[in-house]
């Protein structure tokens, strides 16, 4: 007798509170298959971006994700600066780095809290989110907002870090460091937590390469990739820091990568505050020259990729986004197989998925796929040709 059942997680995730749908195909408690359905929250950001000016788009792409709301605008402005060959003042580079790393700390602490919640350890959840508040307060002081910092603009940043703020930042960093230290010790010493996380949801190095995962998910599977090292943007090449990676590929390794990365981030921010030169924080940009450019930034979840094509007007004619979760979520297909339901829920969360970042369009009609991905792409090209015939050389 087949004992197959479907355990649904979704279409609205009970804990992450985002629209997704995972169908766990289980036999008893054991997961033997996973079906991933996304696309409940497609907002058409790329399309909207093609109707907005370069000044407006950073605010738009900021709202792709509430957690990595610096990575998307950063990648976008990098792409535009690449396309139009715009120089950015050095001080702005450092400020971008500081904001980017602060965001990494707050995102990793958020994940830590959620991971605690997923294994039923609500105390970790509440404490991690409490100490995350320190980072949010720093954001409020520096940028004026706790989320959606609106710091990036083409050619520089919008706000300076004032000299009197630096000691306050240093002080908060020290506190964040002690608290993260406490978490690291508490988590790596707790036998029950180790029993739940160790050798669970193993993503082998080969599978990680096959699924082209990025960010902490890849680094936990022994792949040493990090845009900050491989293709340094902002001030990352002027600063001394280490890439954290582990070979195990289980949930524990993912947790360790994220926890230890917090310390590296603190190190980077401290060096930035020390090395930051005086000077302007933005270059005046009057015109975006025609051309195409790419921007890559290492978001807390992995590499964010933006492609921008300009035709000399103040509106991009093509804007393409690839968020890191797009690569990471599908890797669950192999990572959860063979584990129990209890472990599967944890594995699905261990890649730190951000479903709204990941939304892509798919056209279904009467339960059948209307267009394949390639056909949709061709439709989009056709439309671009119709809208901008002068581009057809």
């Amino acid at each position: 007798m087949s004992n197959r059942r479907i355990v649904p997680i979704g279409p609205y995730h009970p804990l992450q509170e985002e629209p997704e749908f995972f169908k766990l195909i289980v036999e008893g408690e054991k997961v033997i298959g996973l079906e991933i359905n996304l696309g409940y929250n497609h907002r058409g950001h790329e399309f909207i971006a093609q109707k907005m000016t370069y000044e407006q788009i950073p605010y738009l792409v900021e709202r792709i994700c509430g957690i990595c709301s610096n990575s998307h605008p950063l990648a976008f402005v990098l792409a535009v600066e690449d396309a139009a060959a715009i120089e950015v003042p050095e001080r702005a580079q450092y400020i971008r780095t500081i904001i980017h790393e602060l965001e990494r700390i707050h995102s990793h602490l958020l994940w830590l809290g959620l991971a605690g919640h997923f294994i039923g350890y609500n105390t970790v959840w509440m404490w991690a989110w409490r100490y995350r508040e320190l980072v949010l307060d720093l954001f409020e002081m520096i940028t004026g907002n706790r989320n959606h910092y609106a710091m990036n603009k083409v050619g520089g940043v919008r706000r300076d870090i004032l000299p009197e703020q630096i000691p306050l930042i240093e002080k908060a960093l020290t506190e964040i460091e002690t608290k993260t230290n406490m978490f690291t010790k508490a988590i790596l010493d707790d036998p029950v937590i180790l029993a739940r996380l160790e050798n669970v949801g193993v993503l082998t190095k080969q599978a990680a390469i096959d699924y082209a995962v990025v960010g902490p998910t890849a680094r936990a599977s022994g792949i040493a990739i990090d845009v900050r090292k491989d293709d340094p943007h902002c001030a990352y090449d002027k600063i001394d820091w280490n890439m954290i990676y582990f070979d195990e590929g289980d949930v524990l390794a993912k947790a360790k990568v994220r926890l230890l990365e917090c310390f590296e981030s603190i190190k980077i921010i401290r060096q930035c505050l020390k090395q930051m030169p005086q000077g302007p924080i933005e270059n005046r940009v009057d015109e975006i020259a025609p051309g195409e450019g790419i921007g890559r930034a290492e978001a807390p979840r992995g590499e964010v990729f933006h492609y921008v094509r300009s035709d000399g007007t103040n509106i991009p004619i093509r804007h393409k986004i690839r968020a890191p979760s797009f690569m990471n979520i599908v890797s669950n297909e192999v990572a959860v197989i063979g584990y129990s339901i209890a472990d599967a829920a944890l594995c699905l969360a261990a890649v730190d998925p951000c479903y709204c970042c990941t939304e892509r369009m798919a056209a279904f009609e009467d339960g059948k796929e209307r267009y394949t991905g390639k056909q949709l792409l061709e439709l989009s090209w056709e439309k671009t040709n119709k809208m901008f015939p002068h581009l057809n050389k």
Partner: protein, 303 residues
């Protein structure tokens, strides 16, 4: 008339449920303080209960109606009987009858069985997974729990009357104050955590994995009864432990002991992640069972 009063008002249904709900408030408040939250006011459990009563009870279409609705009632009847017996035997040891300890153990196993029954009757896949987990867990903790009680039976010279156990402890001092007694209480305390369905053993209703697990299809009145029987368990299980191992309810100190045990349960709940069901079973059989057997051996040597 007197018996009906005992069953319905004191120390049966009404008394146990009010104290039980107050203790759930203690649970929620202490948990909130550990989490750096404020926590609810004292009447919150009562408000929740009465609100649930006013809600519609939905019964799934292909569920077995009778079993689905009987399960919470069975649970509440069993736990009311536990409350009534436990306290009458504490206050009037002469009323105790031969074998009432065994009856109590039986009655205490009924609420988990009722949840399994209700979950299976609801025909929900999540509830079915929850029920199978509850069943596995039940096989895990029941054996060490009974073994821990056997230690008391041995130490009191083979009595299975609660009245005699209480009287014995009144004369010779509580069972707890000996090596085997400490082992027995520890084992029973951990089993109690599982019986209550608290972290690290809230495997059957793991909200992160199974929504509400065994209670997924329950709503309104039926859910309120389940919640109430859980609240009463939070009161009566520590009372049972105190009666068997810690001198019974002879002095007012028992109230402090009760609070201490409840706070201990809450602390365990808040400083542990949830175990997987196979890990929990292994813990009970490989970890706790040898400890309980060691306790039995020590009890034979009057330690």
């Amino acid at each position: 008339m007197k018996v009906i009063f005992w069953i319905l008002v004191f120390p049966g249904f009404l008394f146990s449920s009010i104290i039980g709900m107050l203790l759930t408030w203690v649970d929620r408040k202490v948990t909130a303080r550990i989490h750096w939250r404020v926590g609810p006011p004292w009447f919150q459990p009562f408000a929740d209960f009465f609100k649930l009563l006013s809600k519609e009870t939905l019964i799934p279409v292909n569920a077995s109606r009778f079993l689905f609705l009987m399960a919470p009632i069975l649970s509440i009847i069993a736990i009311t009987a536990v409350g009534t017996m436990l306290f009458t035997m504490n206050f009037y040891p002469n009323m105790s009858f031969l074998g009432d300890l065994i009856v109590l153990i039986y009655l205490l196993t009924l609420p988990p069985l009722a949840t399994i029954l209700g979950a299976s009757a609801s025909k929900n896949p999540l509830a079915a997974v929850g029920a199978s987990r509850e069943m596995t867990l039940y096989f895990g903790y029941e054996l060490p729990f009974i073994t821990a009680i056997i230690i008391t039976i041995i130490k009191t010279g083979g009595t299975i009357r609660i009245g005699d156990i209480v009287t014995y402890q009144h004369i010779h001092g509580p069972i707890l104050y000996s090596v085997s007694g400490i082992i027995a209480t520890l084992v029973a305390l951990i089993c109690m955590q599982a019986k209550l369905g608290y972290v690290p053993f809230d495997i059957a209703e793991a909200e992160q994995e199974l929504m509400a697990g065994v209670y997924t299809e329950y709503s309104g009145f039926a859910l309120a009864l389940f919640k109430l029987s859980k609240a009463m368990m939070l009161f009566l299980l520590p009372c049972f432990l105190i009666t068997i191992f810690w001198g019974g309810f002879v002095t007012w100190w028992a109230i402090l002991k009760l609070l201490l045990l409840v706070v201990l349960i809450i602390l365990i709940k808040n400083t542990n992640p949830r175990l997987r069901v196979d890990q929990a079973l292994k813990f009970f059989w490989v970890g706790l069972m040898p400890l309980a057997v060691l306790g039995v051996i020590l009890a034979f040597f009057k330690l």
